[in-house]
Amino acid sequence: MITLGVDVGSLFTKGVLLQGDDMLASLVWETTGNISREMDEFIEKIAEAGKISRSGIEVCVSTGTGDDLVQEADFTEDEVACLAMATRVLIPDVELTVDIGGQSITNILSDPDGEVLNFMHNDKCASGSGRFIEVISDALGVEMSNIDATVNKAAKKIPVSTQCAVFAESEIVSYVNEGESVPDIITGVCEAVARIVVSQTLRLGAVNKFTVTGGVARIQGVTGVLDERIPGEFIAFPIDPELAGAYGAALLAQMEE
């Protein structure tokens, strides 16, 4: 059976096309105000990339903050359930999924069957989310895709003391004015993001193995610190971590008869 999972996030919309456990194609678009109208084209493009006809998609499941914007979806699934399912299928012995999205942080504790045992979710505040990094890297003139390369040039780490993204932006601007280097500051920013995420993670208790998903999981400057600070072994997510939610949605669609 061929299924499509669409994860409409606050910053990016992700799609995964599955046939059984095989990923036929994936697609990532920026989430615009028109995403609902663009969805038709999105589905067309992902079908084309998967070398199937659009009518070949049997079940479509949407998830994420904008899951209701996908009129083509047969049903919507909760983000937490999708992430837990993706982890269960790809890395079954991992008990904790740490998701850092564009505007949220979610920590999910699940059992080997993919059942969610407990989770914590913050989408009230930009602190520690992808937006937090975006606001600050914008202020520093560093592209998101260049963060790791910039971190590698750091000689030291400038600690960021504020949690609020607005205040943190002012704080780092003052460091720039004091003559601190951009690599040293951005290293401190990665550390700050990880610290904020870990404070939520640790409230769920200790695990043996954990993974990190969401767009921010691609930034090693952040995952490196998470690896140091979260007890348990860090298992890198086997596919592009940004696709985790969409992948889980497509898996849940597979279970539909």
């Binding site: 504020t162 993204a165 607005v166």
Partner: protein, 264 residues
Amino acid sequence: MYFGGIDVGSLTAQAVILKNNEIYSYGSIRVKPSPVDSAATVLEEALNDKGLSREDLTFCVSTGYGREQVQKEGLSGENMSEISCHGKGAHWASPRARTVIDIGGQDAKVIKVDSEGELVNFVMNDKCAAGTGRFLDVMSKTLGISVEEIGELSSKAQQTIEMSSRCSIFCETEVHHYLQRGATMADLAAGINHAMADRVMALVRRVGLEKEVTMTGGVAKNVAVRKEMEKLMNARLVSYKIDTQIAGALGAALFARKFGEVKS
């Protein structure tokens, strides 16, 4: 005898010169990179206004950012917390006030004072930009207007567009979104001022409302936020004649008088 009070905030700094029980002179500036520089400049401004010099001051108290450093540099003889100073200053300006709401550039405080203007209790938010002056700063930039205009603009609103989020960063996205869909600036301004008042109200609830209530700090100049606060508190805000931004410096000058009188 003259007494001085200096208050260095996150965005502006003020100095007040007190003569007997009267505000003889005051100054207000945008802050400089160092609090000591800001303090020296603003004090100079207030003194020059009346042809005074620092030697004419019997005693001076500093408050706000870098208040200890300012004292170390010899600009003041003592330093006091901004909480005590705002309570004291607001109480002097409106003696019936028991609850003082101070919204600064980067924080918000709700201060309870007794009949003498002495601090009884307070709550403060300096962790999150929501409910501080910075929120209005970020929002007015998003609307492309000055922060002074956002209060006035509210009065032209047909409706209040409620913000679904508290976070300043998320509200920024939300406002962009509404603008794209053709919402009016006035309706959005009303929503922003309402969100601002709503956040401050959460602090008021924590400390408990006791009448009369007064507001200090820069945001107290925003008429729409004042109105929203009055609605939410179901109480009038008592107003006073002095510039709301000098309450902290005024409180510091009042403490300076107290210290100076003890000394002499």
